[in-house]
């Protein structure tokens, strides 16, 4: 035990002291914070307002195009050809031509511009026209005022409440769940790949530098393998912790420095995290407005107390469990080969279940209770990622325990098998190993 601790310590310290670790630790949050902050700034950076000349032969749209921060509309009366030739001179970005039509209500328009107009500009114009035409049609054909129609529209706020077996009811917030689960699942995916590969490289390094036999004459190969796996796990946890802290620090620092730019409502589209914030606000404000519902504070408190503890707990379990399951296999691959170039053939079966769970994400999110989601979250090779995505939707304790139990069993099994391959592989030099060979190694006596 003392020796395994020595190994863990060495594996941890040598990696944490590496320049690449320090660079990654600093760069990671900068990138992440960049992902959060840059879109905000980009959204703030309004493009130059573009002028669009409108030639409205129908006369139905005068004053109907609203100028906003991106486009400004200028109604002109000159004919189209003149307007087109005047574009440069008058500093018009485009000329919108709405021709007179036979029918009372026009359904066509042409936008002339020198450059390809942006999608948002097109849809803005389209929508403005559509709205007006709908209005006209309602008035002309059905004699309904658009305002009356608006008043009919009602918004339904469907509060979903899960009834657990114990009879307690809880509100479900699928938007937050969605983001949290997804984020957790993807984090686990990256953790397994990044640090699994580190374990593998560590084993290959020991093998190629020929130190491994010196070490296994003092400790059992299993101790060396587990020491490395655990040591790297601590490296990973350290890195993620630092990333989260630094990212938060940078984000908070920026939002303190530019508080006006970080009011969430302004740029809903820019960020998932902010989207949830908005959603929480919308949901809770709606809930608060409706009589008989708990007030805003209670709702938020509810989200905090019910979901988060479970999600964080489950996340940590699958984060560590998934890593351990795969790390042992990565260690075995490292032991079976002589150089990193030879790892390809063995990497494939290990990475396929991981990539498969990411590919199936969309499917699972659409139907988190379906049989595929169920089985993928039970099978240990995919469960760390898939269960993480399912968990916020509410999983029966039985399923969760089954999945966790199988993950632990799976970990014991892969580690047992990996240890056998590892033990033989680390002392085997200059030999191309096949699957058949690996299978034979499993039968060797310790």
């Amino acid at each position: 035990m003392n020796k395994i601790w020595l190994i863990i310590k060495r594996e941890y310290l040598t990696r944490v002291k590496k320049r690449s670790f320090i660079i990654m630790t600093v760069l990671g949050p900068l990138l992440m914070a960049g992902l959060m902050i840059v879109p905000v700034f980009i959204a703030q950076m309004s493009d130059d307002q573009k002028k669009i000349a409108v030639i409205d032969e129908t006369g139905l749209f005068s004053g109907k195009f609203k100028t906003n921060e991106d486009v400004k509309f200028e109604y002109i009366t000159s004919d189209l050809e003149a307007a087109k030739s005047n574009m440069k001179k008058s500093n018009w970005y485009a000329v919108l031509f709405i021709p007179k039509t036979e029918v009372a209500i026009p359904d066509k328009a042409v936008l002339y511009s020198e450059k390809q107009p942006s999608l948002s500009m097109r849809s803005y114009i389209e929508h403005s026209m559509q709205y007006e035409i709908e209005n006209l049609k309602l008035l002309d054909v059905y004699n309904i005022d658009k305002k009356d129609l608006e008043s009919i529209k009602s918004s339904i706020n469907l509060t979903t409440i899960k009834i657990s077996e114990g009879g307690t009811e809880q509100k479900s917030y699928s938007e937050i769940s969605f983001v949290l689960g997804l984020f957790g699942g993807i984090l686990i995916y990256f953790f397994i790949f990044m640090f699994g590969a580190q374990v593998m490289r560590g084993v290959i390094e020991e093998k190629t530098s020929r130190i491994v036999e010196i070490i296994v004459s003092s400790v059992k190969p299993f101790q060396l393998m587990m020491g490395k796996i655990i040591g790297v796990a601590f490296v990973g946890l350290t890195q993620f912790l630092l990333w989260i802290l630094l990212t938060l620090a940078i984000y908070v620092g920026f939002s303190q420095a530019f508080p006006d730019k970080f009011t969430p409502k302004k740029h809903e589209a820019s960020l998932n995290a902010e989207k949830t914030l908005v959603n929480v606000e919308q949901l809770s404000s709606k809930a608060a407005m409706q009589p008989g519902n708990e007030d805003l504070n209670n709702v938020i408190e509810g989200i905090h107390s019910i979901n988060f503890m479970l999600i964080i707990g489950v996340f940590l379990f699958y984060f560590v469990g998934g890593y351990l399951l795969y790390a042992a296999m990565f260690a075995a691959i490292g032991a079976a080969v002589d150089s990193e170039a030879d790892t390809q053939q063995f990497m494939l079966p290990v990475t396929v279940p991981l990539i498969f769970s990411i590919v199936m994400l969309q499917f699972i999110l659409n139907n988190p209770e379906g049989p595929i989601a169920f089985w993928l979250s039970i099978i240990p090779f995919t469960s760390p990622i898939v269960m993480m995505i399912r968990i916020p939707f509410g999983i029966s304790p039985f399923e969760l325990l089954l999945s966790m139990g199988l993950l632990i069993l799976g970990f014991l099994l892969t580690t047992w098998m990996a240890a056998k391959i590892y033990r033989t592989g680390i002392l085997m030099y200059g030999k191309k190993v096949s699957y058949k060979e690996l299978f034979k190694w499993l039968t060797y006596k310790g």
């Binding site: 530098s209 130190i211 036999e213 070490i215 296994v216 004459s217 002392l427 060797y444």
Partner: protein
């Protein structure tokens, strides 16, 4: 008392038989040569003694007890395939490996200081291993092999990659260790060092032990009653004046003298050879040719390979 006893040990790797029913007795405080061509099974046997792998059959006793995990701290092992973490600093690494052997950090520090001073390599402490030459790295490896003062040492091809000066340094240290009471196994196919160092040997070929014993006894057993004669003042044919049954294997000229290698009949003595020669020739030198370990090794291994 025998320090290491290997009893009927066999080991098989799928289609490959690595060791067949090996029996070996290594007396305490002796330097024991484990000889054999590449792939004979030496390293497998050593790994079994080190408890890196387990035998399929047979038993191993160390110091009278069956092998157990605590024995590991009694053994110092310098493997043939050896290296160090390239990116780690020399001192840090030596300290780590010493601690893995089960000695405390403080103790390890003290011992390392002693050895680094002895080999005059204190300046390397903070260097990275990749900055050292191969010979320098071997010195570090030797130090970490003996740092915990093991009673039992196993050197697998210890001299490969060493320059002659370092080989001598190492030989000296190996003798010192034996003086201090250590038992040493020395695996090699470098026969010169065997004659110089080993008290006993075992020869392994194709997974089987084919020869074991004291180096002196083995040489005696395998000597062929052959002598080398150096003489001059004789113009005739040496064969004509030799008694019956005495066989000239080769003749030559060595500067001012003529030489002949003569094989005697099994029971004949050197006097029986010299007496008839003395009246005819003046003898410059005369000595028995003892078989070198190299010859014994080659004849034994070839002999066995032919019979199979």
């Amino acid at each position: 008392m025998d320090f290491l006893v290997v009893e009927n040990v066999s080991k098989r790797y799928a289609a490959h038989q690595a060791l067949t029913d090996i029996n070996i007795n290594v007396p305490a405080q002796c330097i024991y040569g484990l000889l054999g061509p590449n792939g004979a099974g030496k390293t497998t046997l050593i790994r079994i003694v080190n408890q890196i792998i387990a035998p399929d059959n047979g038993r191993v006793f160390l110091n009278g007890e069956p092998l157990k995990p605590t024995h590991i701290s009694m053994i110092g092992y310098l493997p043939e395939e050896r290296g160090l973490y390239k990116k780690m600093k020399v001192g840090e690494q030596a300290l780590y490996l010493a601690q893995l052997k089960g000695i405390s950090k403080k103790e390890a520090m003290k011992k390392l200081k002693y050895w680094f001073e002895k080999f005059e390599i204190q300046a390397w402490w903070d260097k990275k291993v990749e900055e050292l030459s191969k010979g320098m790295q071997q010195k570090i490896q030797f130090i970490v092999t003996v740092i915990h003062q093991p009673k039992f040492l196993i050197f697998d091809e210890p001299f490969s990659g060493f320059d002659p000066i370092n080989v001598n340094l190492l030989k000296e240290e190996i003798f010192n260790l034996r003086e201090q009471g250590a038992t040493i196994i020395f695996s090699t196919h470098n026969m010169e060092s065997v004659e110089e160092l080993c008290d006993n040997i075992a020869l392994i070929n194709k997974s089987k032990k084919i020869l074991e014993g004291k180096v002196r006894d083995i040489k005696k057993t395998y000597k062929a009653n052959t002598f080398k004669l150096c003489y001059n003042d004789f113009k005739g044919n040496l064969a004509e004046i030799l008694p019956m049954g005495f066989d000239i294997q080769s003749e030559g000229i060595d500067v001012d003298y003529r030489t002949a290698i003569i094989k005697l009949p099994k029971t004949a003595t050197s006097n029986e050879l010299l007496q008839p020669l003395l009246p005819h020739i003046s003898i410059h030198s005369f000595n028995e040719i003892l078989p070198s370990m190299n010859d014994i090794f080659i004849t034994q291994v070839n002999g066995q390979n032919q019979t199979i």
